[in-house]
Amino acid sequence: MQSSPAASASASSSASGGASSKPTEVLESVVIRFAGDSGDGIQLTGGQFTAASAAAGNDTATFPDYPAEIRAPAGTLAGVSGFQLHFSSRDILTPGDRADVLVVMNPAALASNKKWLKGNGVLIANSDAFTVKNLAMAGYASNPLEDGSLADYQVFELDLSRLTGDALLGLEMTAKEVERCKNYFALGLVFWLFERDASMVEDEIKQKFGAKPMLLDANLRVFRAGWDYGENTELFQVRYRVPAAEDIAPGTYRSISGNEAVALGLIAAAHQAGLSLFLGSYPITPATDILHELAKHKEFGVKTFQAEDEIAAICAAIGASFANQLAVTTTSGPGIALKSEAMGLAVMTELPLVIIDVQRGGPSTGLPTKTEQSDLMQVLYGRNGESPLAVLAIRSPADAFDCAFEACRVAIKYRVPVVLLSDGAIANGAEPWKIPDASTLPTIDPNFLNSAEQLPGGKLLPYDRDPQTLARPWVYLGTKGLEHRIGGLEKWDKTGHISYDPQNHHHMTKVRQAKVEAIAQDIPAVEVVGPSSGDLLVVTWGSPWGSVRTAVKELQGAGKSVAHVHLRWINPMPRDLGEVLQRFGRVLVPEINNGQLVQVLSARYPRRFDRYNRIAGQPLTVAEVKQAMVELLPD
């Protein structure tokens, strides 16, 4: 835990959680990680602690780390679900590299999560679950709570199952029901430990179990028992306080996940364009929550179509775009592979379409619940023919709203398919998001062609173009006199008729490329964070933004000549990027892949690039990217 430089240990009592006789130590930041069986309610527990931390004014960032199996056999390594939360009195950008506090519900959770706990970190273990059988399933030959192998940590053993059972004495509950309450005991304890406002959880329990009086009573009892245990046990002699953050911009905030924020961005863009939103989607981890979120909001006229497969999902979206809706399809990497041919159809028909790829580990089924940045080449080049697509990427959950809005804006303005890249860590991770004022959101003009009257010569030219954007008309379906046919065969320029003419194909290929490149006039210049020239520039796209920005700031604070450029748009790239790259001695590109952006940059800009790649299904840590930078810096 990082002690606050300004604060010293004090002996105050909790402001919100009831008086305490124990002293409080003030900390600047804490990273806590909960781990247990998939059925232990770990994600729920983590989410509640996050909400309470955010409500207490901390900046927060989370990283849910869970298996693909819904309920792998209890006690196995395969079934371990983790949730990491970073909460701080300062502005933070990542869920933290390693945990100060690790709460484990069984030996498997310890075995697979110990590596994330800092040296001398606090380990809270449910000792009841450290049975011979569970130890064996986790691969332990002896009990780590007893064999001295945890000497480097501050271990707190709790017999959670028994304590939970004690709290529920007198209630007629099965052993299984009792067992399912134990996460609330752990939550109550850490709420006490970090002075969190208990009323939030209590309200939530009341809301959730209101219709089931016995479960309501049971969960409240267990939560309070966890709290009281902290207060009364001799195990814990001190509580910790992470004060409210003060370097956060004023405004109204909420906690939001990347998937939720994408959904809201789409709804807002449709609203600001005066269009109905149409989503064609097929369930796939980790993108499905976007479908779930959009399906809730029919009051905005959102139509969600859960198709029979990935191909039907995008094809329906193309049909809806032809029919003038803001059409979107959401998926992950394997789904993009299936949609590729239809993505080409969208390129050929020059219709607005937003394609969202929430990346996960690959190839093939790969690591469905783990994060990766390995679809960049696929979305840039993974189609037959010369098939240029606009591509932008989200950097964090709080960035997702703006990116989704931007993807829609550009798709509509330029009449192009736009790929929006997210990833598993962004999709499920959550952080505070400054809620925009809806009345100040920009409007988007769909600029339909909805009358035949003004046409030169009275004839529609479906592939006539706006000279600045090269956009073709978006004809309002059903307008008399504007009937026309489009399709996947090569088009005559302007008329849109089928053409096999060699010169025309050359010309149209160049036009489709120029159209994507024209988007560069609409995106901001490169923002260099740090000196405008120097020893090292770090270039990122997507979710490594947070770790890299944090590491760069730390190195800048240590007097190093390091700057950071983050690319929201990857195709096209900002027009001044090449010039910026020349101003630095070394350029480092860290990615959670085998070096994809670095290949694109290398092909485009004649200079040397350094790369840092770790493809472990996990976000890049601040420590590792910092080390990679240090290695490139002069001594």
């Binding site: 909400a51 409500a55 004023p250 405004g251 109204t252 905030y253 909420r254 906690s255 939001i256 809201l264 709804i267 807002a268 609203h271 109905s276 149409f278 064609g280 909001h297 029919k298 009051e299 905005f300 006229g301 959102v302 139509k303 179509f305 198709a307 029979e308 497969d309 191909i311 039907a312 999902a313 094809c315 329906a316 193309i318 049909g319 809806a320 775009s321 032809f322 029919a323 003038n324 059409a327 041919e341 239809a342 159809l345 028909t349 809620i435 004022d437 809806a438 379906l477 059903g478 008399k480 504007l482 009937e483 026309h484 046919r485 489009i486 399709g487 996947g488 065969l489 008729h497 089928i498």
Partner: protein, 339 residues
């Protein structure tokens, strides 16, 4: 969906200025003409209609229809058309497809379209061959068929498109032969008027790669003996002399001769296109020559809520009870203020 209906529309109002590029003698010409006649008669104006297709000879159809149109990708026309219809339920949407396009590469979309009952009219040109790729067996080619890809004869068991459709919960199933203008007009008019997925199989002759595939049924001299024109509520009587009938032995159809063995018209199976139980429609779909006359006309026409109606209805229902409050949506349920 209510359109301005015009009584003065002519087939040529549905013709485009594009040169039709099917092979001379192709059955598609007759189908195109039949559709344009049916649409003119229906009176819905071209701008209220969209024609969607996939890939294949039949899928060039949209280019020759003066409606809105998309020539999509192989097998995906039902999906594209579904998107058009869900977005704009006021448009009348037609799908042109072939046996390869809809039953092979697009088989998945085909069955799901039928079960959803999206309000589309889907015309499947069945010529039992891949024409555009110059002659390979299709999912409706007969066993043993010799083609470029099956020089020793096909070992692929074919689909029966109509029984597949009935099995996939199709609510409207019809069939006509490309050269049979009378049945074409009847089936197309009924398909156009049907609210839901109207699936029509068309026996179409590919005179280049599978010439005469349907001659055993389509030739004038034996058409009446080898096909049976279904009429709702009427006994199933057929034959050039209308001297043969179909009767049901439990669930087993049987051909009989009127006046023999004491059997007459009163013994014939009465066609009920509106029977909600698909069993008899399935029996009809399985009837093939030479054991039986092949049914043409409307096998099944059973109204049930269309998918587009249900989806749009749900959206409207929510809209009528819940205000679209963008700021409220953005705020969520637990926002906090940083001063």
């Amino acid at each position: 969906m209510s359109h301005n209906i015009r009584v003065d529309l002519k087939p040529k109002d549905f013709q485009t200025d594009q040169e039709v590029r099917w092979c001379p003698g192709c059955g598609d010409y007759a189908i195109l003409a039949a559709v344009q006649r049916a649409l003119a008669k229906q009176g819905v104006e071209p701008h209220n209609i969209a024609t969607i297709a996939g890939i294949g000879c039949s899928s060039r159809f949209p280019y020759y229809m003066a409606t809105y149109g998309i020539h999509g990708i192989h097998g995906r026309a039902p999906a594209i058309a579904t998107g058009v219809k869900l977005a704009r339920p006021d448009m009348q949407v037609w799908v042109a497809t072939g046996d390869g396009d809809s039953l092979s590469i697009g088989g998945n979309h085909f069955i799901h379209l039928l079960r959803r009952n999206v309000d589309l009219k889907i015309l499947m040109f069945n010529n039992r061959i891949y024409g555009l790729t110059k002659g390979q067996f299709s999912p409706t080619s007969e066993l043993g068929k010799k083609t470029k890809s099956t020089p020793f004869g096909s070992v692929d068991h074919p689909f029966n498109p109509l029984s597949l459709a009935v099995g996939a919960e199709a609510s409207f199933v019809g069939r006509f032969i490309d050269v049979d203008a009378r049945t074409a007009a009847e089936v197309l008019a009924a398909a156009a008027a049907f609210k839901g997925t109207a699936f029509v199989e068309i026996f179409q002759n590919c005179n280049i790669f599978n010439d005469g595939a349907w001659d055993h049924l389509s030739q004038k001299e034996h058409r009446s003996d080898r096909t049976i024109a279904l009429e709702h509520g009427k006994p199933m009587i057929f034959g050039a002399n209308r001297d043969k009938g179909i009767r049901l032995h439990g669930l087993r159809p049987e051909v009989f001769t009127l006046g023999e063995n004491g059997l007459g018209e009163a013994d014939a199976w009465i066609h009920d296109a509106h029977d909600s139980d698909p069993t008899r429609a399935f029996l009809l779909a399985r009837m093939t020559w030479p054991e039986f006359p092949v049914p043409v006309g409307i096998l099944r026409s059973v109204e049930r809520t269309s998918y587009d109606e249900a989806l749009c209805g749900q959206v409207e229902q929510v809209r009528s009870t819940k205000k679209a409050d963008l700021q409220g949506l953005l705020n969520g349920r637990s926002a906090w203020v940083v001063a």
